[in-house]
């Protein structure tokens, strides 16, 4: 199938779906991944590895609960470390999915169709990783688990709604719920398809239950479409609000480097940036492993590349603005913060971040790069590393040197920090591979609408 990765002649854009498919073959191609009896070997390999890493995560968390957050590198003044960095990073990644499904849907970007399903899956799994951290990073998680939610308790105490952390709780849990619903109703007709193409009774029963008796009635389709559009409309402001709220954790505080008004747009742009990077990191191997080049074509990769370039430039602008404001405010603490970014003990993190997020991604200007999957893959990895560094710089470097020089301090992460972080990657991979094995990773129903034969001829 390599030929589909050949660029078409100049001026012609690659198609968004390979040639020569009809409703039936399309069906078999995609549903085949799920319904096949022969699970590919690489799947077992990847899942096996993921399970091991997931085990490492559990070990790290068990030890954490046994000993306390002191096993991490955090201290006073740097009260937040890896946990919050990872939280922001994962939430950011969790943005692309809903963005693709919702915003691109509203903009009638039909090319989104083949990537939205697993992008939504990615979103949900990423948000699950993210949600883990705020919980386990507290000193007493067994209390945090429920005290953060407004429930009537015998002590008659309630959450303190002025705290951005409470906003986080609501924003992230809402985001998770809505993304899940969005994903879920998208799946219903596909489950019906799987039910009807199932070869064994057991499989038919299972997907039958999931399909809830969907039968494609026009009345149902009518309400279904409305609901789907509504969700898209709701998810759009939501996805923008989530990372804005996350950014308020910092913006609301008084710490130089945190206390700034342009964090919300800055964070949202960064989130989409890293989100699309992650989409590529998942899509490129996926299309190779499952030979899906016909459905995830160069067109998709190119578009993702362009979006990354655009959001990357916004992020670059934000970095510049941060420096400019520091200088322009002429506030001695802001100036010190800027100086610390550029020359402080952690400046190498900062320069690495500039390299990863601004300089290297400039390669995306070239169509060649945008159309070469392996290059895009490498770039995406670089960008996600850069985005992680960005969060590290914001969280750690700002806390490390604040107002009173006597209380300045350093932060060194421990092996437990790393184990937890890597562990969540394993968890994420595990969930994702289970997903592509047991659910249609490409939205069959929506793909049908792209076929010429699906149109009604007059």
């Amino acid at each position: 199938m390599q030929d589909v990765d050949q660029l078409p002649p100049k001026g012609v854009r690659p198609p968004i779906i390979g040639p020569g498919y009809n409703l039936g073959t399309l069906n078999d191609r995609i549903a085949g991944i799920v319904l096949t009896k022969h699970t590919p070997v690489f799947w077992f390999a990847v899942v096996g590895l993921a399970v091991m890493i997931f085990g490492m995560l559990n070990t790290a968390i068990a030890y954490l609960f046994a000993k306390g957050v002191g096993i991490w590198g955090i201290n006073i003044p740097v009260g937040w470390g890896f946990a919050i960095v990872n939280f922001v990073w994962w939430v950011g990644i969790g943005h692309a999915g809903t963005l693709i499904s919702a915003i691109l849907l509203l903009f009638k970007q039909s090319w989104r169709t083949s990537i939205n399903r697993f992008a939504e899956g990615m979103t949900i799994f990423a948000v699950m990783q993210a949600g883990l951290f705020p919980l386990i990073h507290t000193g007493r998680p067994w209390l945090a688990f429920y005290w953060l939610f407004p429930y009537p308790n015998s002590m008659g105490v309630w959450p303190q709604f002025r705290s951005p952390l409470i906003w986080d709780v609501f924003a992230v849990s809402t985001y998770f719920t809505v993304s899940f619903l969005f994903w879920g109703i998208g799946l219903i007709p596909d489950f019906a398809t799987l039910r009807d193409s199932a070869k064994t009774l057991a499989v038919r029963r299972i997907y039958g239950m999931l399909a809830m008796g969907w039968r494609g009635s026009s009345r149902h389709w009518n309400r279904y479409e409305t609901a789907y559009m509504l969700l898209a409309g709701l998810a759009t402001p939501l996805v923008l609000s989530v990372h804005s709220v996350v950014s308020l954790d910092f913006a609301v505080s008084v710490i130089p480097g945190w206390h700034t008004t342009f964090f919300p747009p800055y964070f949202v742009a960064g989130a989409i940036y890293s989100g699309f990077a992650m989409v590529l990191i998942l899509a490129i191997p996926f299309r190779y492993l499952y030979g899906m080049q016909d459905f995830i074509t160069l067109r998709h990769l190119q578009n993702c590349g362009k979006l990354m370039l655009a959001t990357g430039m916004i992020v670059a602008y934000a970095y510049g603005l941060e420096m400019f404001m520091g200088w322009y405010s002429h506030d001695k603490y802001e100036l010190a913060m800027v100086h610390n970014r550029l020359h402080g003990p952690y400046s190498h993190y900062y320069w690495m971040l500039v390299l990863c997020n601004i300089i290297i991604p400039q390669a995306l200007w070239s169509n060649k790069v945008r159309s070469t999957p392996w290059m895009l893959f490498v770039l995406a990895c670089v960008v996600n590393a850069g985005m992680w560094l960005e969060r590290f710089v914001i969280v750690v470097m700002s806390l490390q040197r604040d107002f009173v020089p006597s209380s300045w301090g350093m932060y060194w992460f421990t092996k437990w920090d790393v184990m937890t972080f890597v562990g969540t990657m394993g968890f994420f991979t595990l969930l994702f591979f289970l997903f592509i094995r047991f659910m249609p990773a490409i939205a069959i129903t929506e793909m049908r609408t792209l076929l010429p034969q699906a149109k009604v001829k007059e």
Partner: protein, 178 residues
């Protein structure tokens, strides 16, 4: 149990055009109690059988309202009435700080209402439905298009309706038992 011995008569087409054509004709012929079954949403089919508006949006709006009001009033009651604390000298009723949660609650309410409203209106989940008795109906979720005229329809006459449907050269016309 049922007034009519069967559920209806089902015609199977292998392309959307024929389906829409047939559906339109049936509607003109005065049939109302009918429905089309398609592998993907097909606007023309919906219009053909006279499906236009639905109440999902209204339900979502109500959900949004409830979420919004509920969220804000919870915050107000907790922070200003039930358990007022002086946090950093801020007012008990610090409304700007209450906006994010209010917004999230509104979105949450709307989304839940939209999805579950849609399912409820569609009567889902519904494990059993007569149309599933049609042997080839499995292709309704694959590549074939079905039109079913139900027995409840006042103008429904089994043989007559059958003949009417066969006039569109469908793949097959079959009776749909209960």
């Amino acid at each position: 149990m049922n007034a009519t011995p069967i559920y209806g008569v089902m015609a199977e087409f292998d392309n959307p055009t024929d389906l829409v054509h047939a559906a339109k004709a049936a509607y003109e012929a005065g049939y109302r109690q009918m429905d089309t079954y398609t592998p993907y949403p097909l606007e023309e089919a919906m219009e053909a059988v006279g499906v236009h508006h639905n109440r999902v949006s209204l339900i979502a709006l109500i959900g949004a309202m409830l979420g919004m009001i509920g969220g804000y009033s919870l915050e107000y009651w907790v922070s200003a009435v039930n358990y007022p604390v002086n946090a950093g000298g801020k007012p008990f009723h610090s409304w700007p700080a209450f906006i994010p949660v209010t917004f999230e609650c509104a979105v949450l309410g709307a989304s839940l209402a939209a999805v579950f409203g849609m399912l409820a209106l569609n009567g889902l989940p519904q494990p059993y439905h007569p149309v599933f008795n049609v042997p080839n109906f499995v292709r309704a979720s694959r590549d074939h298009f079905f039109l079913c005229i139900e027995a409840q329809d006042p103008r429904f006459r089994l043989d007559e309706t059958k003949r009417f449907l066969e006039s569109f050269q469908p793949e097959d016309v079959s009776e749909v038992p209960h």
